[in-house]
Structure formats: structure tokens, C-alpha cells
């Protein structure tokens, strides 16, 4: 009797493994939690020693840095955006697009059109400012710039006449002496993305991303994704970029070390030279984000909306299912999961363009963000918003901002009957 039940269960698993509606969102890393804590659970399939590393990394991710000398967590600044990983990635989710004092959870990247990069192919740093504006500084040192963010509203309507409003960001960047930042400086507003599930994204084989790329749109579907190719400081070579809104970092460790240096002014062997955090702590933090579980989809039937997701063309870039290859963390290897991303760069049109290239990504391209956990955004972070700069107050607004390669899909959404639009949004809120 017992044997039979096990066999039936296995058969059921086998039957649903290819169906995103029933397959676990994060493979064996999936967690059953739809609360504000949903992004903060360790993957349940971690080995005991890996769970211990995860929990140590959790402490590092939460750690608040202060100016040295100090008995613990010294090294903040002198220039910084915030003082802890968790200050912008609260509850391991996204941040709010806001600036000012301790409320800042977003940042502005800057670069010049011409010059010499610090890493091969990287954005050209601005003399005196580098590649990122730090709007905070330790006592006695002026912040690089003051950042003020305002929004300008526009209106539009669905094909059925229903009106909607969109808002676009308007940045005011001011030096301490009151001068405005030179207009020749390219700038890109970014809000902090969620960090869970990142290990599975790292474990997707390069070959998978290469195979999905179609830079010249040879299949004629209007979608021409391509991987970013970025400098890997550990390998000393060009690798596929995966992390960041333009996939500017090849690995979680590099993404993490760069964030310590640029966002908190905490330098390490990889970035900044002086060792304010050692490799072990950087790697512990990266390990933590790599091994956070992925929340399971909400219960309920959203098959209709899921069908629209495919029919409208969303799935052309937001690839529902991916499979990981080998990975040093056993829990991440050989998993099938539903991130809804191809990790490739796509032209999203002029309205979303930042005009600031990053390695191979041009000023109109963004890396497809994963959509898993999307339905929990408002639970984890009340008031949260969407897209790279948080301009979209709702998921519907986010869809309506899509242009470029995604224009046809957006138009299918915009011109669809209200019940179909609602069905799509119900599906997305179940992720």
C-alpha cells in the first residue's frame, strides 16, 4: 500500500514537471510561504553545512555598517548610498524608488560617452564621480550630489476606452555647491531588485542562454535577445552577464562585491583595493542570496491568464521554464524551475531607455527580469512599484511601459478585452 502511494506520487510529479502551472516555482528550492517573509526562507533542500553557511550569510546581509574605527561592521563610506544590504533589499525584496536621508532605497548610475573604462568594456567613469552617484557621506564630507526625484504624469487609454495614467521619473541632480550635473553625463535611475532565487539564475548554463539568443532575429518573431558580455574580475576574462538591470555582472560574488563597494563604500579585494570586508564575508553574502528559496505560486486556477501570457507574447522573453546545470551548491544543480526570464538583453523602446550603455547593453536594452514572486511584491513591501526605476505603480502600468521588441505584446494587452487583461493580471499576481 505504502509503495503504491509513493509510486503514484512520483508519477504525478513526472506528469507535471513540464507544466509551469503545477511544477514548483523554484524546483526543490521552492518554499510554501505567501507572507511578507516569503522571499526570506532558506531553500529547503540545502545540505546541513550549506544551511549553516546560509544562516551566516543572513547575518552578513543584515549587518549595518558604520564608519571606522568601530568594534563591528566598520568601513562605511566615506561615500555611500546606504549602510546595509537589507536597507535597500528589505525582506530580500525590492526597494522603493525614493531618495533622501535614511529613506533612500534607489541609486543613479552615471558614465560618459567616451573615455577609458576601469574594466574592459565597462561604462566610462565620470572623473570625480565614478560610475555611481553616492548621495550620502560620513560626517564632515559632502555627499557627491543631491538627488531629487519627481514624477511627471501622462495619460493613455486601453482600446476599449478605459483610461490609465503613467508616471515617468524626473531626476534633479545637484552638486554640493548648487550646480546641476553636466548634461553630458549619462545617468540611469535604478531601484533595488529582489535577491531570492539568484542562485538558480546563476546555475543556468551559458549554452542555454546562447541557444536562446537571436541577436539578428533570424526567426522573424520581432524578438532579438542577446546575452550581455561583461568583465569577470575573478576569471580576468569576458563572460556572459546575468545580474543587474542590464546584466552587468557575471556572477553573484562579483555583483555582491560591487554592491559592497559602490552602494556602501565598503571595499574588498575585488573592488576598491583596501580590504574592509574580506572575501569570506563577501562570499557569505553572495551565498545567502544564492540559497534563498523561491516562493511557490498561490493556489487557485489562473490557467486562463497563463494562456494569455503565452498568447500575447510575454513568454517570448519572460521564458517560463529554465533548467540549471551543474553548480558548486548542490541544492541549485539540475533543477527545473519557473523564473519567467531568458536573462537576455532586449530593446524595450525609447520610453523606457536610459540612454546609458553598460558593456554590450545599449541605452535601450534591459535584461528580462524574472517574474517569480511578482504577486507577493505588495505583501513584502507595501507601496512597492515596478520596472528598473520603479515608475510603474502597478503591474498593468509596467506592461503598458513595454516598447521596442515588446511593443507587439504590449499592444495585444492594451487592445484585449477587459476580462482578458484581468485574467492576465490574476495570473501574474499568483506568481
Amino acid at each position: 500500500m505504502t509503495t503504491r502511494r509513493v509510486a503514484l506520487a512520483l508519477a504525478a510529479l513526472a506528469a507535471c514537471a513540464d507544466d509551469p502551472a503545477t511544477a514548483p516555482a523554484g524546483g526543490d528550492t521552492t518554499v510554501l510561504d505567501r507572507t511578507s517573509n516569503a522571499y526570506s526562507r532558506p531553500a529547503p533542500n540545502l545540505r546541513a553545512d550549506d544551511l549553516a553557511r546560509h544562516l551566516a550569510g543572513d547575518v552578513a546581509f543584515e549587518a549595518t555598517f558604520v564608519r571606522g574605527p568601530a568594534p563591528v561592521n566598520a568601513g562605511l563610506g566615506p561615500l555611500y548610498n546606504h549602510n546595509a544590504c537589507a536597507a535597500c533589499h528589505g525582506k530580500d525584496g525590492r526597494g522603493l524608488p525614493q531618495f533622501g536621508g535614511a529613506a533612500s532605497q534607489a541609486l543613479v548610475r552615471v558614465s560618459l560617452p567616451d573615455g577609458t573604462p576601469e574594466l574592459p568594456g565597462a561604462p566610462i567613469p565620470v572623473p570625480g564621480l565614478g560610475g555611481q552617484l553616492q548621495d550620502h557621506a560620513v560626517f564632515g564630507i559632502p555627499a557627491e550630489v543631491g538627488v531629487a526625484l519627481a514624477w511627471t504624469e501622462t495619460t493613455g487609454s486601453y482600446a476599449d476606452g478605459t483610461a490609465y495614467a503613467l508616471r515617468a521619473p524626473a531626476l534633479t541632480l545637484t552638486y554640493p555647491d548648487g550646480r546641476a550635473l553636466e548634461p553630458t553625463i549619462m545617468r540611469s535611475l535604478r531601484q533595488a531588485p529582489a535577491v531570492f532565487g539568484a542562485g538558480l539564475l546563476e546555475a543556468i548554463p551559458d549554452a542555454t542562454l546562447e541557444a536562446a539568443a537571436d541577436p539578428d532575429d533570424r526567426d522573424g518573431d520581432g524578438i532579438s535577445g542577446r546575452p550581455n558580455r561583461v568583465w569577470d574580475v575573478d576569471a580576468g576574462a569576458v563572460r556572459i552577464g546575468r545580474f543587474g538591470h542590464k546584466a552587468g555582472n557575471p556572477s553573484l560574488v562579483q555583483q555582491t562585491a560591487a554592491a559592497y563597494a559602490n552602494d556602501m563604500g565598503v571595499t574588498s579585494r575585488r573592488f576598491g583595493g583596501e580590504v574592509e570586508v574580506d572575501d569570506a564575508r563577501v562570499e557569505a553574502t553572495a551565498f545567502y542570496t544564492a540559497t534563498l528559496g523561491v516562493p511557490a505560486r498561490a493556489p487557485g486556477d489562473v490557467a486562463d491568464g497563463e494562456a494569455r501570457f503565452a498568447e500575447f507574447g510575454c513568454a517570448a522573453c519572460h521564458t517560463p521554464t529554465q533548467r540549471s546545470g551543474p553548480h558548486p551548491i548542490a541544492a541549485l544543480a539540475d533543477q527545473q524551475f519557473q523564473p519567467y526570464t531568458d536573462l537576455l538583453l532586449h530593446d524595450l523602446g525609447l520610453d523606457l531607455a536610459d540612454g546609458r550603455p553598460e558593456f554590450r547593453a545599449d541605452g535601450r536594452e534591459w535584461r528580462t527580469p524574472p517574474l517569480w514572486g511578482l504577486g507577493l511584491v505588495a505583501t513584502v513591501l507595501p507601496g512597492a512599484s515596478y520596472l528598473h526605476d520603479g515608475r510603474a505603480r502597478t503591474v498593468a502600468e509596467a506592461i503598458l511601459w513595454h516598447g521596442g521588441e515588446a511593443e507587439a505584446a504590449r499592444e495585444r494587452f492594451r487592445t484585449a478585452p477587459a476580462d482578458q487583461r484581468a485574467a492576465l493580471l490574476r495570473f501574474l499576481s499568483a506568481l
Binding site: 505567501r34 505583501t379 499576481s429
Partner: protein
């Protein structure tokens, strides 16, 4: 039950926090006007009293308290002593705006604690100079602004978070699409603070035997912080907040209907955990380096983990 959780537990706890922060500010102003040992003691007592509702709110750290940064604005650790001393040594005018714009690590509970208690509960009233007292009252005033904003985020925000939570399951509620989602939020908060106390607040400094990692180390208030975290769990479970004088319908009613023995057991486990925390030799920051105290520390951790196991297992099952 969900409505009572918001109206009889969360909001009264935040209201009490705001009241006590106001009393702390008044005590700090009194101290500043004419420092004396009695006035310092009164301000210290007011600080300890303000910690009570804050620690009793840590069993429900969801919603605006985290999203809007109220938690770090009040409770950042460590204190940035280097820059705090630099501010004191400067001639900067300590206006309310200036204080507001300081990093969280130079204000909030623990910066106030440092000023009121010194490094090891050794502050004398005549230690504090005029500038330190001005900084102190600036910090206590700013704390009242944060506690007021936190309470308002649940009662008058746009929308009040009370309305988001209590309309769980209503059409269009994207944060809590079902009543069960809201119940799970309460359970996860209760479980999470047990985990945080046993495996974070106690374990991190104890495992490293490092007093620098201890919460509320300047005031020697750590044990009371931990005990009030467990009372937060108790309040969430019972729907009552004894410190605020409120009662309401809690999860306990649900549990008594399906498994009265579980209700009795969970209450006993909570009482035991609080007793075991209070049995750790004071101050906690010395206990973590005193081998004779280790059994008491580990007994407290074990008792808290027992509570967490019951919440995650039998209580979650009963509520479902």
C-alpha cells in the same frame, strides 16, 4: 480575529510606543533643564519603558514598519560612535532637521541609550555636557516623530495599513488575497521572532562570545528586550496587550475550539520561555563570556525553540 489583531494588538502596541516615546522625550527635556541623578534615572527608566512596546511589536514586523524604514530609524545597531562623537565635537547647530537627516546609526533607541547609560550602565548625571544633552533631546524628539509616523501608517495612512490587513480576502486586496494569507502572516511573525531571539539575538553574541554583538548592551536591558519579544508572541496569540490594557479575540479562541490541550501547552511553553530568559544571569553581555551562565543561556534558547516548534507545527495545523 484578523480585525482584533489589527485594532486590539498592533495599533494599541504602536500607540503605547508613541505615548512612551513622548514620555521619554519629556524626561530627556527635564534632564537637560537641570541634570541630576534622579532626573537621569527617570530618563533611563523612561527609555526602558519605551523599549517594552517596541520589543512587544517585533512579533509583527510586517507592513510599513519595515517597508517605510521605521525599524532601522528607531533600532539600528551598532551605533556609529565615531560619527556620533564627531557631531558632538562639531559646532553644527543641532536643529530638528539636522537630527532628522543624520544616519540611523547616530540616532534612535541605541544612540539615546548610549547617551543615557554610557558604555556600561555607568553614566553619571554630571558626565553629560550641554551639547550631549542637546543631542539627546534632539534624538528623543526625532524618536517621537518616528513612533507617531509608525502608528499613523496603520491608522491614517493612504491607505491605512489596518485597512489593508483587515480586508484580507476581499476582492482587489493584492497584499492579502485570502483570510488564510493574513492568518499565515500572524503565524510567521510569531515564529520569526522566536527564531530571531533564540538563533540571532542570543546565538550571535553567545556563539562568538562577543559583547559587541549584544542588543541593548549599554543599558543591560537585553533580557527584558528578549522577554518582551516573547510577550509579543503571547499578545499576537491571545489578542490581548496587557501593557496597553487592551483585550481582543485571538488565535487562542480558534485553538481552544479544536484542541484545548494545545492552548494550555502553548501558554505554558511561552511562560517557561520568558522565565528561562529571566533566569539568565544579568547582564546578558557578561553572561555570554561567563561559563557558569552558559547552561542558563542554552536553556532559554531551548525553551524559545520549543515555542517556535509548537507555532510552526501544531498551532499552524490547528489554525488551518
Amino acid at each position: 480575529m484578523i480585525v482584533d489583531f489589527a485594532d486590539r494588538v498592533v495599533i494599541p502596541t504602536y500607540a503605547l510606543l508613541d505615548d512612551r516615546a513622548a514620555a521619554l522625550h519629556a524626561a530627556a527635556m527635564t534632564l537637560r533643564a537641570a541634570p541630576s541623578p534622579a532626573r537621569l534615572r527617570a530618563a533611563q527608566d523612561a527609555w526602558v519603558a519605551t523599549r517594552v512596546p517596541w520589543e512587544q511589536s517585533e512579533g509583527f514586523l510586517f507592513g510599513p514598519v519595515s517597508a517605510q524604514g521605521f525599524d532601522p530609524a528607531m533600532d539600528s545597531w551598532p551605533v556609529d560612535r565615531t560619527d556620533l562623537e564627531a557631531v558632538l565635537a562639531s559646532s553644527d547647530a543641532l536643529t530638528a532637521t539636522y537630527i532628522r537627516n543624520l544616519p540611523e546609526t547616530q540616532k534612535g533607541f541605541h544612540a539615546i541609550e548610549y547617551l543615557l547609560f554610557g558604555e556600561a550602565r555607568d553614566r553619571d548625571a554630571d558626565d553629560l555636557d550641554a551639547r550631549e544633552l542637546a543631542y539627546l533631546t534632539g534624538l528623543t524628539l526625532e524618536l517621537t516623530a518616528v513612533t507617531a509616523a509608525l502608528e499613523a501608517s496603520w491608522t491614517t495612512g493612504a491607505p491605512p495599513y489596518r485597512d489593508v490587513f483587515t480586508t484580507a480576502g476581499a476582492a482587489g486586496n493584492t497584499a492579502y488575497p485570502s483570510l488564510d494569507a493574513a492568518a499565515q502572516e500572524i503565524l510567521v511573525g510569531m515564529s520569526g521572532i522566536c527564531d530571531e531571539v533564540a538563533n540571532g539575538k542570543i546565538a550571535d553574541p553567545y556563539d562568538a562570545h562577543d559583547p559587541n554583538l549584544v542588543e541593548s548592551q549599554y543599558s543591560y536591558n537585553s533580557r527584558l528586550d528578549f522577554a518582551d519579544n516573547l510577550r509579543s508572541v503571547e499578545n499576537a496569540y491571545t489578542g490581548d496587550v496587557p501593557a496597553a490594557g487592551t483585550t481582543g479575540r485571538g488565535l487562542d479562541e480558534v485553538v481552544r475550539a479544536v484542541d484545548p490541550a494545545l492552548d494550555t501547552r502553548l501558554r505554558a511553553e511561552l511562560a517557561d520561555a520568558i522565565a528561562k530568559i529571566q533566569a539568565i544571569p544579568d547582564p546578558f553581555r557578561d553572561a555570554i563570556t561567563t561559563p557558569a551562565a552558559y547552561p542558563a543561556i542554552e536553556a532559554a534558547q531551548a525553551a524559545i525553540r520549543t515555542v517556535q516548534t509548537t507555532i510552526d507545527g501544531d498551532l499552524a495545523e490547528a489554525v488551518r
